[in-house]
Amino acid sequence: MGVPKVLLGGLTALIAAGALPAQHLPVVEKTLSNGMRLVMVERREQPTIAFGWMAQVGSANERPGITGLAHLFEHMMFKGTKTLGTRDAKRDGELNDLQDKVQAGIREEMTVLREQQRRGGIPDMMDPKARTPRLQKLLDEYDALVKEQRALIVKDEMDQIYTQAGATGINASTSQDRTFYIVSLPSNKLELWMWIEADRIGHPVFREFYSERNVILEERRQTLESRPGGLVNEAFNAMTWMAHPYSWEVIGWPSDIAQVTREQANEFFATYYAPNNLTAVLVGDFDPVKAAALAERYFGRIPANPKGVPQVITLEPPQPAEQRMIADVETTPSIQVDFKAVPAVHQDGPALQALGGILGGAQMFAGRPGGGGGRPPTGRLHKALVLEKKVATNASASFRGQKYGGLFALRATPAQGRTPEELEPLLYAEVEKIAKEGVTEDELQRFKNATQVGLYTRLESNTGIRETLAQALAVGTVQDFQEAPKRIQAVTREDVQRVAKQYLVRDSRNVLITHRKGIQKLEGK
């Protein structure tokens, strides 16, 4: 480690001796009569409440052809209900039906174009120039229906009601494992939240369904395709997961986003948005007993899905051989090594987290104080590759556990004049050192303390608590959340050494090496 331990003996010994105490959080759990779960934390300091509800569904519940559908809901759930979002519910419904009919015709034409593309007759079926005359006619008909409907729509009414009520952070997000709908409101608006959310879970109307697909294609361009290396990362992830649905991005493949139907959406909603697959998280200034009663009144009447939710069956098989991808991208060269590891709640999760902290730097877990700038990680990789050998400008490690699987990642950026290929064996050498010699008690305790401090920083605000709870609930239970600090404290040096040996092996690694595309001289000296 290059630091004479003797010099700081006194202080280090003192800290290492005492673990930091976990913070007690009064979490109240309640299950409604239809199976919907409530998880509540009362905090009275500020007159606000951070709300969220989670559908336990994400891109892992999709299949080829409907990739991106879970994320589509994140958009559609803001389009209104039978009550909100229209001036004339009857005509609105008729127009939705008419749009579906025209879209069915459009799909027939798209089938023709897909066949032409398959045979090489046209390069891109999505290009306006490729449209058939019938397709153009149908698109025009569809536009006319949209215009008629637009005159009846009360634009984003749900958002307006929330905004007027003083909402902040109205949002939703989708991961591979869950979809989460959030908002923060003044504490007197508890019942408003119940009203709006029960209405959109119980009686949603997916208005503007087809045009919203275009917004998502723009989102895909913005968040993935325009990002340097974005498309390569998508391809690398697809290579890494050979069987499991984690192989596609949450936003989905462009072909599927463009063609998804309202019928598919309805079926998906009926299956995954039933209350027995939903969990609400409330943090802030309210009485949990009253909130539970109110929730029963509002959400309790939404019927459960007696069939339950289909399980994600496909297990990622053990990877039989190392996989590599070498790509030219329009950014700084880099190396990324993803080892297949375990799900977040697996009993080896905490030890893998410790390994990540020790290799990558415990500071990564300590959170950022307000107003401060970046601070490099101080893990073994940084010390060896960046500070001592000076061959990299950045080197890190981390374990990311999800619901059904996890990856342990090593990453590094070569210094100017160095190549990613040079860094690769150096990364493995640091792993090997731990596999052979283990880690020190001091390193492990520092990781544990930094993790506890990181947890303090996340549990300081209503929204921070909501997000931390939700992260745990997406992959496990309230018990997993409560016991996380204890499980981290229980990790031993032997555990860390064992998981390094067990998971960071050649056959289970996926290596992405990128070089800068085009003019090499732009890299400078």
Partner: protein, 492 residues
């Protein structure tokens, strides 16, 4: 109400189903929430040498952490010509470069042993050094902070590393439409000779030495430049004593100076439609018109006008038209710059596929024109105003946020009581005010429009909504070349 709900809970769901849910959310009634605007003077104390400290000790809830930031006025605007990037390096190296008592690795080791974080950074006009530490280790942590603040060593080894990292960051400047748009737009708004557009180059980084960093420090480290905020698990009286014993004893050194006034750009903007070619699937579009300063009597009405036009969320006119109706973008927003040091701007931004740029921009400019042509309907105005007023308490969430907001505003030089009547002033804004603000500030002939993306597709526009990019406004059209990421000179 509470008795009834509690009883219902006991009796079970049969009775609950019988209870009526109001047919619309407007039928619900809400008890008022009382929120008193925090006032800076309630948090502020002064150290013996005049440094202001904003205290926010834990209230009902909190963790055992203490956070302290010593912020300063001073930054990139002080960089000598040819040494662009100096303030930025100063910020990162203040801690990372170690200090007179501890070399970098030892300092990092000390911090790690306490699970503490000590970081520093410096921007264009201000910066700060921040410590986060568990309360039992606060004294030791404060000592490390003071050592770095008083006697930074700027280790050559770490400076070299920071320069390597900075050079690499320069090399990425032309990789994404967003980063290209960011530097191009600064040149268009502030010209070549103002710090707002003065980015580091390979040559300027090469020229920066340890002596430059030391000189920067010697000039900056003056009580008149410093403002402190501290929040978390501590007793205010004891903390004030500790700070008086440490930072409160600071006397300006021979080189120290109160940082000079921040210069406003002196640059005649050239309104126009600018295009930078970059092969990408989606274009970045920015536009700006001159705005005002937060101290202007027009501010609150202009603020409402901007929220209505392009404020956050889905309720703004631009989002409704360009995203929700037309599906042309993931997000479109305008922001009203507070203008801490000179007149702010109304800045719009969106990303859209190359061929949609012209059409989406025409829609955006039409929405700006509509605000000038007709007063906003009362319903729409009410949603916007109540939204601002009702969400006001959550703008102050967290005691740390309150303390650091006051400290930052003090560094920027805003008056202290500015927020006290914010809600009343928003409430007083009328539809006529909003229209007046639109007429006054949304001057379409002063627009600077920039698109960065695939030029041929942007210029041609969308066959479904014909119209060329150069025709989106009656302004000159100019192609703006990319700049060399190393030298920031235009590429011929």
């Amino acid at each position: 109400m509470s008795t009834r709900v509690a009883t219902a809970l006991v009796l079970g769901s049969g009775l609950l189903l019988a209870q009526a849910i109001p047919p619309r959310p407007e039928n619900l009634t809400f008890a008022p929430v009382v929120f008193k605007t925090p006032l800076a003077k309630e948090l502020k104390s002064k150290l013996k040498n005049g440094i202001s400290v904003y205290f926010a000790p834990n209230g009902l809830e909190g963790t055992p952490l203490v956070r302290i930031t010593v912020g300063w006025r001073g930054g990139g605007y002080l960089d000598p010509k040819g040494k662009e990037g100096l303030a930025q390096l100063f910020g990162s190296q203040l801690v990372q470069g170690g200090n007179a008592k501890l070399e970098p690795a030892k300092l990092e080791d000390r911090l790690e042993a306490m699970a503490a974080t000590l970081t520093a950074s410096c921007g264009d006009t201000s910066g700060g050094i921040s410590l986060q530490v568990v309360d039992k280790d606060f004294d030791a942590g404060l000592e490390l902070l003071m050592q770095s603040l008083e006697s930074p060593a700027f280790s050559q080894d770490r400076l070299d590393l920071a320069k390597r990292q900075a050079r690499q960051a320069l090399s990425r400047r032309n990789d994404a439409v967003t980063s290209i748009a960011s530097y191009q737009f600064n040149f268009l708004l502030f010209g070549q000779n103002h710090f707002a557009s003065a980015d580091p180059t390979t040559a300027s980084l090469d020229g920066i030495t340890r002596e430059d960093l030391k000189a920067f420090h010697a000039r900056l480290y003056h009580p008149a430049n410093l403002v402190v905020s501290v929040s978390g698990a501590f007793d205010k009286k004891a903390m004030l004593e500790k700070l008086n014993r440490s930072l409160g004893t600071l006397k300006p050194g021979p080189e120290a100076k109160a940082s000079p006034k921040i210069p406003a750009p002196d640059f005649p903007r050239a309104p126009g439609i600018y295009l930078t070619a970059k092969d990408a699937p989606q274009a970045m579009v920015n536009w700006a018109v001159p705005g005002l300063r937060r101290s202007d009597p027009d501010w609150h009405a202009a603020y409402v006008m901007n929220q209505l036009l392009g404020g956050p969320g889905f309720t703004s006119r631009l989002m409704k038209t360009i995203r929700s109706n037309e599906g042309l973008t993931y997000g479109v927003y305008t922001s009203l710059g507070a203008g801490a040091h000179w007149q702010g701007d109304v800045v719009g931004r969106m990303q859209t596929k190359n061929r949609s740029v012209a059409y989406a921009l025409r829609l955006a400019l039409a929405e700006m024109q509509k605000l000038k042509d007709a007063p906003a309907p009362e319903d729409e105005l009410r949603v916007i105003k109540e939204g601002i007023i009702e969400s006001f308490p959550s703008q102050w969430s967290g005691r740390q946020a309150i303390a650091s907001r006051f400290a930052e505003e003090a560094i920027q030089g805003w008056t202290e009581d500015w927020w006290a009547d914010f809600r009343e002033k928003i409430q007083a804004v009328t539809a006529a005010d909003v229209q007046r603000m639109a007429k006054k500030y949304l001057a379409l002939d002063k627009l600077v429009i920039l698109a960065v993306g695939k030029a041929s597709e942007i210029e041609a526009g969308d066959s479904d909504h014909p119209g060329a990019f150069k025709d989106v406004a009656k302004l000159p059209f100019l192609a703006l070349p990319l700049r060399d990421p190393q030298t920031m000179l235009p590429i011929k």
